[in-house]
């Protein structure tokens, strides 16, 4: 699915956010990326979904090296990559149905998209996506009126409607409470499994990563420091990953 070779991302101000990452993710895998804040996890995800271009290195998505693609080809690639964000990134002023159907914008022509704002197209698709994330009754609700957890469900429904080959979830549960966070991760894992999609999640809560993901990648200062199954991720490994930074969430979450 993904193949990264010595990928680096240096920002204009000289910050090295992702430093020499070499990585391979196979189709259908479920991977959790963990690490202290500021490690460059979000930048890594923005490289993976084609929002940022690597400064150097090669980044294959399937058969194509997206580091060197033209803008038009990239758009085609982006349709096959769905992203769930920490801040949901929905349009609060639109109704839920439009935010969910926004997953279709990659396929729709502009007049179709415009017309759908007047009378929503593909209503059954939107309804069934909301059904899958557990809030079918919110189809016509105003997005701004929903709670944080419900908004994250809408964002997941948007990705379902987009029907990508891979789902990237960038800190999907950092802005909701731990119990709800667990439910949402369960939902994501369940949806990825049933629809055979690859799932990459970037998580702050280590316990969630240990419980739901067969592969954990430790990320620190822009580099991969370990790539292990959960059994091999011991307290020592974690202590080293988070050394010198605020403590990881494991302790606070399991009293």
């Amino acid at each position: 699915m993904y193949r990264l070779e010595q990928v680096r991302k240096v920002f204009a101000d000289g910050t090295v956010a992702v430093d020499d990452v070499t990585l391979r993710v196979d189709p259908g895998e479920r991977v959790a990326v963990i690490g202290p804040s500021g490690a460059g996890k979000t930048t890594l995800f923005r490289l993976l979904n084609g929002t940022l271009r690597p400064t150097s290195g090669r980044l294959w998505f399937g058969e194509e090296d997206i580091a060197g693609l033209s803008a038009r080809r990239l758009r085609h690639i982006r349709r096959r990559i769905g992203t769930v964000y920490q801040q949901h990134n929905l349009v609060p002023q639109l109704r839920v149905v439009h935010n969910v159907l926004a997953g279709r914008l990659g396929q729709w022509s502009w007049p179709t998209a415009l017309w759908s704002l007047i009378t929503p197209r593909d209503r059954p698709v939107a309804a069934s996506a909301l059904e899958q994330v557990g809030i079918p009754e919110k189809l016509y609700a105003r997005t701004a009126h929903l709670s944080g957890g419900q908004q994250q469900r809408v964002a997941i429904a948007r990705v379902l409607v987009q029907d990508p080959a891979v789902i990237l979830a960038d800190e999907p549960v950092s802005s909701v409470d731990p119990t709800l966070g667990r439910t949402i991760i369960q939902l994501l894992v369940h949806l990825a499994e049933t629809s055979k999609k690859t799932l990459l999640t970037n998580l702050h809560a280590v316990s969630l990563a240990l419980d739901f993901f067969p592969r954990l990648i430790g990320f620190r200062q822009g580099r991969v420091v370990f790539d292990l199954p959960p059994e091999a991720v011991t307290e020592d490994v974690l202590a080293e990953l988070y050394a010198g930074s605020e403590s990881h969430m494991l302790a606070s979450e399991c009293p």
Binding site: A71, H76, Y85, N89, A102, G103, E246
Partner: protein, 292 residues
């Protein structure tokens, strides 16, 4: 955990904190502003005695007493109603024209839509020609907006009167062009300050630029755009009344006629009508903005 680790400031540590001080640069700025005010007073030839002196007071009294009583004869009121409606229509059509001009220009004058920001992060491989063209379009749109805005509406009206003759139409054109410049600039600023998150999400899902504009930008700023458009309409009603003075129809033309004939009693009636009209429009647009 992080709370326990971090040191907590107690009250006896405040003495070691550095209190904010006046910086020399802020003192200098205040001196400059003071100097500017004094200088402007002189250069603008401000002379209160001219206004409030003996002669000034007499002229003021003559003019003010000439305004009373307002002329409310039915024939004149009927004439005014026609002019008031004309002024209203000039302001409405002028604002519509301003939006039609300003909105598309605003889209071209928004850097996040043209060449900067998240939508163009991956654009490094586009040809330099194309990137240059995008930047040039942006700069050209900004220039056109500045030009429209920097020439006062009265001057536009004088020019359009030359082109299309006397009447309401040059008033509509003048308001359309000068307000188009103002609307375009503010619209571009509103678009540039809208939250980035939804735009990034739609872009990452493969949406095209026009779709991103329709779903990601416009719904977020729509209320602001309408609200500012309504505010400009309020201003346009005042402008429309003034533009008549240079031959662009409406109530202004009546003001000009009555002043030239020294019919100050008519002038006062017209000013009252302008006042009522502006107040009514103020209220109406406030109501609409609240409902948004």
């Amino acid at each position: 955990m992080s709370l326990r680790a971090s040191r907590v400031h107690t009250w006896d540590t405040w003495g070691t904190l550095e209190a904010p001080r006046w910086r020399p640069s802020s003192l200098l700025a205040m001196l400059l502003i003071g100097g500017l005010l004094v200088g402007s007073w002189h250069i603008a030839e401000i002379e209160p005695s001219l206004l409030f002196g003996k002669q000034g007071r007499r002229y003021m009294w003559d003019f003010a007493s000439g305004l009373f009583p307002p002329n409310v004869s039915p024939a004149f009121l009927k004439l005014l109603i026609v002019s008031a409606i004309e002024t209203m229509q000039i302001s409405i059509m002028g604002t519509v024209l301003a939006i039609m001009l300003g909105f598309p220009l605003a889209l071209l004058a928004t850097d996040r839509l043209c060449f900067a920001g998240i939508l163009y992060e991956m654009d490094g491989h586009a040809s330099p020609w194309r990137r240059g063209l995008r930047r040039a379009t942006y700069l050209a749109a900004r220039m056109v907006l500045n030009l429209c805005r920097s020439i006062p509406d009265v001057v536009w009206a004088l020019m359009f009167v030359r082109v299309v003759g006397l009447g309401p139409f040059p008033g509509v054109l003048a308001i359309g062009v000068s307000y188009g410049g103002m609307l375009g600039k503010i619209y571009a600023e509103i678009l540039e300050s809208s939250p980035d998150g939804p735009v990034e999400a739609l872009h990452a899902a493969g949406a095209g630029k026009l779709s991103i504009l329709t779903y990601g930008f416009l719904p977020q700023v729509f209320a602001n755009l309408v609200s500012y458009g309504l505010y400009r309409w309020e201003c346009a009603i005042r402008s429309a009344a003034i533009l008549g003075l240079v031959g662009a129809g409406g109530l202004g033309q009546q003001i000009e006629l009555s002043m030239r004939m020294f019919e100050y009693q008519e002038t006062s009636t017209i000013l009252l009508v302008v006042f009522l009209l502006v107040t009514a429009v103020d209220h109406l647009s406030t109501m609409i903005r609240r409902a948004l």
